[in-house]
């Protein structure tokens, strides 16, 4: 029963990793931009939530009402004013610029909030749990987190494949030049995609901040988890990204059970195993 419990907890944390990954994979899919600052933007969202909860005395989950639109606006402006200028045939300029952005965000956060690790207090919901019987229990918060992750992936799926905006995103991803010929303003579409990505980041950041301590240097590790979930799941597949997050979460939970020091290592090993045996990921987009 111990193992069932471990796997269950791993699955639930996998939802968080899928949230880290979804925004990352969205941006790469639409504009071939590898956003190295993605993890730091997650941490930035966590700090924004911290400021909002302190200022208004809100529950962290309620702070999403402010943090999500705020991050979306930051995303739109970031893409429009900075990242659009780096896009072209060469993948390197956006990579370097987001790398620089990552350093700037980390140091700005360090300057403003110091290196102290922080955490958001969500109240009793953090320790509430649901008894499943047979000694199994799942935390209310991880469950909410997982449900939000699934809803988010489902929402993105609908947006991508059932709406005019999703059509424009896919068309721009297929052939940016012809997308312009049929009347798509690519700069605007890219900016909206980044706004969407950072809205997802905001949700991921708040859940991260409620679940664990964070500090200005927490970003890069979140970026790695996000990358790993995307690669395990297969590029271009949203449900695959969720599966990738779950596999990563379960691997980490199993690793931690064997030896507490092996948690992160086990995740990396699962990632490397997928990369070695099935480099296209487990659920690549069939096209």
């Amino acid at each position: 029963m111990d193992w069932v419990n471990i796997i269950l907890q791993g699955v639930l944390i996998g939802g968080l990793y899928a949230m880290f990954a979804a925004g990352l994979s969205l941006i790469f899919g639409v504009m071939r931009l590898v956003n190295i600052a993605h993890g730091d933007l997650i941490v930035l969202a966590a700090y924004l939530a911290l400021v909002v909860t302190d200022a208004f005395g809100l529950n962290p989950l309620a702070s999403l009402i402010i943090v999500v639109p705020l991050m979306a606006i930051i995303g739109y402006a970031l893409q429009r004013l900075v990242l659009n200028r780096t896009l072209g045939a060469d993948l390197l300029p956006p990579l370097l610029v987001t790398f620089g952005l990552s350093i700037i965000i980390q140091n700005a956060l360090l300057e403003i909030f110091t290196a102290d690790s922080r955490k958001l207090q969500a109240g009793s919901i953090e320790i509430d749990s649901i008894q499943l019987g047979h000694g199994l229990a799942i935390g209310t918060l991880p469950l909410i987190q997982f449900i939000v992750a699934v809803a988010l992936i489902a929402g993105l799926q609908v947006l991508f494949y059932r709406t005019a905006f999703g059509r424009a995103l896919r068309a721009t991803s297929d052939d940016p030049e012809i997308a312009r010929v049929v009347g798509t303003d690519n700069r605007h579409v890219f900016a909206l995609a980044m706004a969407l990505s950072l809205a997802v980041v905001a949700i991921a950041g708040v859940f991260l901040a409620v679940r664990a301590n964070f500090d200005p240097a927490s970003g890069p590790a979140r970026l790695i988890f996000g990358f790993e979930a995307v690669i395990i799941g297969g590029l271009g597949s949203l449900w695959g990204t969720l599966a990738g997050g779950v596999i990563l979460g379960v691997a980490q939970a199993i690793g931690a059970q064997i030896n507490p020091g092996w948690q992160v290592l086990a995740g990396h090993i699962a990632f490397l195993a997928v990369l070695a045996l099935r480099p296209e990921g487990l659920f690549p987009k069939v096209q």
């Binding site: 059509r167 896919r170 068309a171 052939d175 012809i178 312009r180 010929v181 049929v182 009347g183 798509t184």
Partner: protein
């Protein structure tokens, strides 16, 4: 021809340091079909891309319906009523047939064309509306590319080598649909390697050679010899 729909004057177009078009002046009248012919590398596609807004001319003016369009981005040019059927079809590969058509109509310009009208013109596309666009035959893909351009209800349709890579019988079908395509007074520029085909459907012809207009005239008045001379530069 003060009524010209499109008027280009002294266009110079460059790719970096390479000059692709030199001193191009031409006019397209309302409801007119104009063929642009020439050998490979003569600058035909460059001319269409320039008109469509994918390349900005370095010098010269480009006016559409009396308003300057030279240097406008492609997504603005299509909003004014110029649609391009690009060389090689260039369908959006992750979109279905119907989605390709719908995205062509995303600007919701008023006019004759709608999804239903495009399906009337090319019934086979309605049968395959849910199919991923890469699964279609070359001729069907070309129909989607034409339909996608029509969905923007253009006043001027630019067709770049729509016969390229298609079987002769398919080419015949595509060209047979052209009168219906241009129903409602749409003008067209047809770029073709197949001179006979181009001359058959067009009112007037421009022949390009090494980026310059070397011959222009009404389709009926040009002799084969004059066209051949202009085409090959002999």
């Amino acid at each position: 021809m003060s009524e010209a729909l499109l008027r280009a004057e002294h266009l110079d177009v460059f790719y970096g340091d390479f000059q692709a078009l030199t001193d191009i002046s031409l006019e397209i009248g309302r409801g007119e079909i104009v063929a642009v012919i020439g050998a490979n590398g003569a600058g035909k596609s460059t001319l269409l891309k320039t008109i469509a807004g994918l390349i900005a001319p370095r010098r010269g003016t480009l006016r559409f319906g009396g308003r300057p369009v030279g240097g406008l981005p492609a997504n603005e040019v299509v909003r004014r009523g110029i649609a391009l059927v690009p060389e090689g079809r260039r369908l959006f590969s992750s979109l279905s047939v119907e989605e390709n058509l719908l995205i062509g109509g995303q600007l919701e310009r008023e006019g004759h064309w709608s999804l239903e009208r495009v399906y009337e013109l090319f019934p086979v596309l309605e049968e395959r509306r849910e199919a991923p666009s890469p699964s279609l035959s070359g001729g069907q893909q070309q129909m989607v590319a034409i339909g996608r351009a029509l969905m923007s209800n253009p006043k001027l349709l630019l067709c770049d080598e729509i016969s390229l890579g298609l079987a002769p019988i398919v080419i015949r079908d595509i060209y047979a649909s052209l009168p219906a395509v241009l129903e409602g007074g749409t003008s067209a520029v047809i770029v073709e390697q197949d001179i006979a085909q181009a001359l058959k459907v067009s009112c007037r012809v421009y022949c390009l050679q090494e980026g310059r207009v070397v011959l222009a005239g009404a389709a009926g008045t040009l002799t084969r010899e004059a066209v051949a001379a202009a085409y090959f530069g002999v």
